[in-house]
Symmetry: C2
Subunit: 364 residues, 2 copies
């Protein structure tokens, strides 16, 4: 029998219940079942499921639709379950990344989905997806984008990843490339018969070490680009002049560049070397100039910041849906053994969402 | 029953017999048995054995003693057995490296070891050893140096490694070191929070690329030093600023330096980096100024050359025995599938050895 989630619990208690239903990436079925079952109890929501991804939508015919999205999975448990409340902090795997965010989604869904619930001033789509913490090919939101983009149609999206209660807008793109230098093998006692490919890579590394990264302002947010070697390998044997060396670089680029432009830039920086682009994900503009986003920023308060990492907001951007990150968790605690969330932040996030969505106005 | 080696065969036929008794490194027992048995038939030789290493010595009480040494093992067979005579070439695994050299040793041993044999003008020590082609710790000559150095006592040694019939004197030393750069891990989307250890290695590679190697004359032979990266590795994950990068360098140093001086040089070149010496083998001076060596050079003819690779002559040098490389094989063919030896070279090497040792003077 599936676990029953009681959505009438307060947001912190609901977070604890979600944390105590472990859902390490690839093992989200029990939690997806529980979420689906709880949402199907709410008559004003249409619920769809694809794999371990659950999407619930109001159908109020309002002028605007916004998405609240979160992933169900966590990184592996690190002797930090079950959850444990200590003073004002709730400890445990997933407390900050991001079951506190999922609890906020579910609390809002519970409020707008009940027959006697409150009326929001925008239609709402709740997206719960799997496999965010592992390789991109398994990402549940990516699967929904490909198979059911209509479920995700909206004017604006909020991803409830941990942001310490601030708005982080858009995200930088990320691209990896292999820069290869080649030489000629020879015995290392007779190096004049060969050409050392590792020595040739010194020019690649020097270029990286001296690289001046751009800082780019987009819609008032400043994105700091990064270009780094994230790997280097070369060598045949301890007595052989190596004939190949590969430097793997990662370029994090601002939302003013397309992936094509980012690839052009890498090729220009390493113009005299062999360059192979190996993988890439686009940047996303914050979309903060949209009315819905601007109002969200006003209600949440504080100056929005640029998201420097890559997040799934880029998947929404790919569908033409501007998106921001905003969640009660603390991003510095994500993936740590000592992960926790401040209980007060969860309730605060629910209240801010309610204010933004006009739920303070009372029930139908 | 062990294979019987017929030492009365001509040198080329004896080489073929040795080649057809496979002895890949670690699997030399059958060949060592056959060599030992053949040598024990010779009454004027004292034969000792340690593992798969066989040492045979004349005890004529002459003023000088010289060693003829060779290894019994070969690199792995590469569809190149049994041996095959084509015109003037004998093909097969080990023909050049170095069973043709072993055949020369055995022909001389056969000549001086028989009761009716010829009298050399120097006492002779024949050394046959195992595991030369693999890791140094298993090298049979190294084991003899450690366990039975008295068996190797001599005034001069000739190692019958392939040298195309020329004398190659001494050898360069070889030393490996790890040059490590360190940084601070961070997410590659926020590189300003970290320090990239691979970028820091650019200074190491640039120093190697710009390094001017010495050419050192020792006893008239010119040794060209080499300092090279033979490996580089660094990187944690595709989205992490790496906190460590290791460049493995190999320094091939001339016989005017001790191992300690070579290590000092590496530490001086990379003075501002973390340097760990990981392994080392000394260089060997050619010893060509010794009368016995000078006479050997005169008889063999041609200008001696410096040995640029490291060979087991350095193990003799470590015992205070000057040594040169001289053998009938072609060093460029060693370890190749198409390995062969020119038949005429084997007989030529026997004749030159005989001339040097005064065996042309006739039998006792």
């Amino acid at each position: 029998m599936p676990t029953v989630l009681d959505l009438s619990l307060d947001a912190a208690a609901l977070t604890a219940a979600l944390v105590d239903l472990p859902s390490v990436s690839g093992d989200e079925q029990a939690l997806a079942d529980a979420v689906e079952q709880a949402l199907r109890e709410l008559p004003l929501l249409r619920v769809d499921r694809y794999g371990n991804n659950v999407v619930a939508r109001t159908r109020l015919g309002l002028a605007e639709r916004v998405v609240l999205a979160g992933h169900l999975d966590t990184v592996p448990i690190a002797e930090n379950l079950p959850s444990r409340l200590e003073g004002e902090r709730l400890y445990g795997c997933g407390t900050t990344d991001m079951k506190s965010g999922v609890a906020v989604q579910l609390k809002i869904a519970y409020e707008v989905g009940r027959a006697d619930g409150a009326s929001p001033d925008r239609d709402l789509t709740f997206v719960f997806y799997d496999c965010e913490e592992i390789e991109a090919a398994r990402n549940g939101l990516g699967h929904l984008v490909r198979e059911h983009p209509d479920w995700l149609a909206a004017d604006f999206a909020v991803l409830l990843e941990p942001t310490d209660g601030r708005i982080e807008g858009g995200c930088k793109g990320t691209m990896r490339a292999r820069i290869t230098t080649r030489g000629v093998r020879a015995h290392s006692g007779r190096d004049w018969l060969g050409v050392n490919a590792i020595h040739a890579a010194s020019a690649v590394l020097t270029r990286l070490a001296e690289y001046k990264a751009r800082e780019v302002e987009v819609e008032g947010l400043v994105y700091r680009e990064c270009l780094n070697a994230v790997g280097v390998s070369g060598g045949v044997a301890g007595n052989v002049i190596p004939d190949e060396c590969v430097v793997t670089v990662n370029y994090r680029f601002a939302p003013d560049l397309t992936e094509e432009q980012a690839a052009e830039h890498i090729r220009a920086v390493f113009a005299d070397f062999e360059v192979e682009i190996t993988d890439s994900a686009p940047a996303a503009a914050p979309g903060l100039s949209l009315p819905s986003a601007a109002e969200f920023a006003r209600v949440v308060g504080g100056a929005p910041e640029a998201k420097q990492g890559w997040t799934d907001v880029a998947r929404f951007a790919g569908l033409g849906v501007p998106a921001v990150n905003y969640g009660p968790g603390d991003s510095r605690l994500a993936h740590t053994r000592g992960e926790f969330v401040e209980v007060a932040r969860i309730a605060q996030a629910v209240e801010r969402m309610r204010a933004w969505l006009g739920l303070d106005a009372g029930s139908r």
